[in-house]
Assembly symmetry: C3
Homo-oligomer: 156 residues x 3
């Protein structure tokens, strides 16, 4: 696999992830992770201080599915929609067939009223397995802001 | 054509489109479409409900040129400028030499006063022909917000 | 070097540049330029009028290092952090092994309070040498807004 193909494969995974969330296909969200994939939302401040107190944590696809079920049940996020932008993806090789990927992201929230606002910005720090298909083994969402909306229960 | 080259060709088309609009080269805008290219701005809400009531519609390069002429004549959009960001482009093959492309976009508006604001976000749903050069056969701009500024007469 | 590899090399340079700034690794910033690399922040308005009055100017790596030293000394930028998004990168060949690159950018600023705001948008107009490694020979940051925060002393 040449570098351009690797970059393409990883960026394609990121892109499909964004569209799944933005189209409210939450049930597809766990499918982007390996069976024992880890997902974590943290703040840059806590990461810098070495405080591993994630806003949200899951360490398997099953936990992610539970999370989606809770969200669907609570139904608190309905009136808004979100749009994810990803940029500046840097890929480095890890051991085996895994790679590490770092990207910047920006999420805007669109209220029912039509108002659009900046919702979150930060960095995705990912560990990705490529075979048999690209999947997140770990996705850490490092948010720039320390302030979290209670609605941050939604996946980023 | 390998996948990386295809991705590059499509993203390059999107990029040149953005720069043409952001540099106010509106006269170049129709040239990104095939002679009978279709362009449509819609809201996510109307798309989801199957209501084909576009905010803006054109089904040929000639109509797009008329649109530009109207805009230049009305001259209502002058004091602002815009900046387009495109992300998360996913490409799938369609029949023949055409491809389908889905991207996220974010547009900010910069007022004469210097103030910058979120203007629009959403998805580009494109059908693109690759030969003899990449051109939009159809570009559907699905805006997240239901609220449209009267200035949305400008191309997105 | 095929086109896809060239695009990858240039976008990787842009991406590493963004991450260095967003992670506050300012000391790495001059290393993205050639020894006599030029850096300039300008406004779209001044560029359009041919007024070469940059907000910030440097014409060597040494000057960029001085700039960083001043910023570290003044320490005025600490309470905020920034997130850079880059999009729509178009590359054209220049003479020799150099290339020209044009991209759109958007920078958000995250205040200590957690508030996130649009900080700057505009275009990067770059001249890049590829060998022995990709470096900026010139980076012109053309900001859309005419209004500059006094904090714009930070690199963009």
């Amino acid at each position: 696999m040449i570098d351009a193909e690797l970059q393409l494969a990883v960026e394609n995974l990121h892109a499909r992830y964004c569209h799944a969330l933005d189209e409210d296909r939450l049930e597809d969200w766990p499918k982007f992770f390996t069976e024992d994939g880890r997902y974590r939302i943290a703040t840059a401040e806590n990461e810098a201080r070495g405080l591993p107190l994630p806003v949200l944590y899951a360490d398997s696809r099953a936990m992610l599915r539970d999370r989606v079920a809770s969200l669907r049940h609570a139904n608190i996020y309905e009136p808004q929609s979100y749009r994810h932008m990803v940029s500046a993806t840097i890929i480095t090789r890890a051991e085996g067939s895994a790679v590490k990927s770092t990207s910047n992201f920006l999420v805007v929230r669109i209220m029912q009223s039509g108002e659009t606002m900046l919702f979150a910005s930060g960095r995705y720090r990912d560990r990705i397995v490529l075979a048999p298909e690209p999947l997140y083994e770990e996705r850490v969402v490092v948010c720039d802001s320390r302030r979290f909306d209670t609605l941050l229960a939604i996946p980023l």
